[in-house]
Symmetry: C2
Subunit: 344 residues, 2 copies
DNA sequence: AGGCTATCTGTGGACGTACACGAAACACAA
DNA sequence: TTGTGTTTCGTGTACGTCCACAGATAGCCT
């Protein structure tokens, strides 16, 4: 009904011109204290909200968003993120916002630095902070310039007021523990497989690992034997041998937890060893994992909704830039996928 | 860099006035076929995208969206939907879109009809089509007037090209079956509890029930004894008695599936009977259910992300109205919630 | 009072699009 | 040729805001 009041009406009521109102709104100098107060009161009183569309139109600004994220060629995990970014880029175009993907090598800190360099020219930043120190620096840089910066997929440790879109890794780990605890008989033990802890083993993996372990600690936590196996990242044949050995040595193992997307390696090995009876749980709906999920070798996968995460990240930044909003980014559900709810 | 081309530049290039460009863009009559083709070619060639901010500013249109949904007082299930709608209403305001909730009584078809009556004046419709025939009529009405109509939460059966945001009930049912199949030892049977099938037992419930049953049918489906219990909806004491009896008669039952939000009734009864050892699975994160989930009486809840569903529904309609887009509404993940990933 | 700052305020033209109105161009019959 | 009607096109104003510039007002000095 009562359509929002505009700068013009406001001027009429205050008996000043729109120029004055404008100056007050942007608290620029050149307006007497008396009028300023009067105008401010009226703004308050009439609950004036600037028309963001008109505002943005008049101030002919073009915004740009940088997305700092590994190249999708490195790892299929990043593929859907890229898709989300691309879709967002298309959708944001209408708000005069351009989105660029600045790829880096997820195993090479220097490449991150280089990409970060390029990001400084943008108005806002969306990044996967795989390299902690460099990411922190970059974030602080943006903060200092009053520009928004949002992390996704992986969160930085000191997350006080930190802006993040993604799964809570620790919680996800706990959920996995609970799921295995439900599905594996109580007298059997669980195996945690860490693939390639040294290289590119990023914060998310730690969180998932810690969350998993935390489930079995504490006073009335379920008693369950846990075995940890630290596998190599590169040599697949070493891994096969290692897993074969550990399964032989501990025939009591009933379930395996892989806190990252490389669970398909383990799936492959289990099929080789004809041990598909074990409950296998891992992360990410990449094609290889889906394959084994369909066959039943992998039993559960935790989905992060990557396309959605990336899209929402860009959207959130756009809303800040264009509309000046500052809502909570909101978290990503920890989505359990089984053969039965695998889409497509 | 190359800032988007505008209607003005386009006019200059085409050697016509902006008026003509405008007519071509809105394919209104009054422009010769020759010029139209020329302009269209240029539009294509320069990849012209109208500036939506300006567009919306100039066309002083006010859109309205009606949301046909049960009143949240009827049932806590609807509470988060209302919140989603309200948040959407706030966010859509800047696009001059108003959103009204037209509540109806989920058990009273007549109240649905009444609400539907009121909806006809709106530009678009978002509804929970609990009453099939009336909903179909309403939907067709909107379609006939070229207005958008979107269902959420519950889908209409003939969903050929039908627009829907929400969970796939059948798939959700299958997932639940699988989950119980994993967590309940193979030699124990499962109980399916239908609460109040007659009154307000809507399509979603059927889908979840059928999906569940389908899991155990087919050639290499797991063999498992299923027991179905049809409980009364109103008399809680009857229910308690009924469940107690059936548990006594079939002591082999290892898990219970309740295909709707009333799982907390069963949880309450299980606590009374001191049978919290049973795996209990149901739907919706309403406060009562959360309570029992935290305590461990309920083991799994399927979340529908209702706020999100409602919000996305409104947003989708807004995008159609304001921006004229026609993307797929996208589906809702089937989110498994356990004690460990219950938020807050 | 006239002149001169310094401070305060109003005006007008953008931004890119929508739309009403009216002008021009054309066709065709008288 | 003129008149009439129809099709095709251009112009002007508006949307709500930003911003540069010009205009007004007041204070003070000579």
């Amino acid at each position: 009904m009562s359509k929002n009041i505009g700068i013009k009406e406001l001027a009429k009521i205050a008996n000043v011109s729109i120029g004055t109102i404008d100056r007050v709104l942007h608290n620029r100098q050149g307006v007497s204290e008396k009028t300023r107060q009067r105008v401010l009161a009226l703004i308050e009183q009439h609950d004036y909200k600037p028309n963001l569309l008109a505002k943005h139109l008049a101030s002919r600004k073009q915004f740009s968003i940088a997305v700092l994220m590994p190249a999708s060629e490195d790892n299929p995990v990043w593929q859907p993120y890229v898709q989300g970014i691309e879709k967002a880029a298309r959708d944001m175009e209408k708000f005069s916002v351009t989105v660029d993907h600045l790829p880096f090598d997820q195993y090479d800190p220097q490449s991150f630095e280089n990409a970060a360099e390029g990001a400084s020219a943008y108005d806002a930043l969306l990044m996967v902070p795989l390299f902690e120190k460099a990411a922190m620096r970059l974030k602080d840089n943006f903060a200092r310039q009053g520009k928004s910066c949002l992390c996704f997929d992986t969160n930085l440790p000191e997350g006080d007021e930190h802006l993040f879109i993604g799964q809570h890794a620790f919680q996800a780990g706990r959920l996995c523990a609970s799921l295995l605890n439900y599905t594996v008989p109580a007298d059997r033990s669980l195996l945690l497989v860490n693939l390639g802890r040294k290289a590119g083993y990023h914060l998310n993996f730690w969180g998932r690992e810690n969350g998993f372990n935390s489930f079995f600690k504490g006073k009335d936590a379920p008693q369950r034997k846990l075995i940890a196996y630290e596998g190599p990242i590169e040599q697949a044949n070493h891994l096969e041998q290692g897993i074969a050995e550990i399964l032989q040595k501990s025939p009591n193992i009933g379930g395996i937890y892989v806190p990252n997307s490389r669970v398909y390696w383990v799936a492959h090995i289990l099929e080789q060893l004809q041990r598909t009876d074990l409950i296998l749980l891992g992360f990410d709906l990449i094609p290889e994992n889906k394959k084994y999920l369909k066959r039943g070798t992998i039993d559960f996968l935790i989905n992060q909704h990557p396309e959605n995460q990336a899209y929402r990240g860009v959207e959130w930044l756009m809303q800040r830039l264009v509309f000046g909003e500052k809502a909570e980014p909101g978290s990503t559900p920890i989505d359990v996928v089984m053969r039965e709810n695998l889409e497509e």
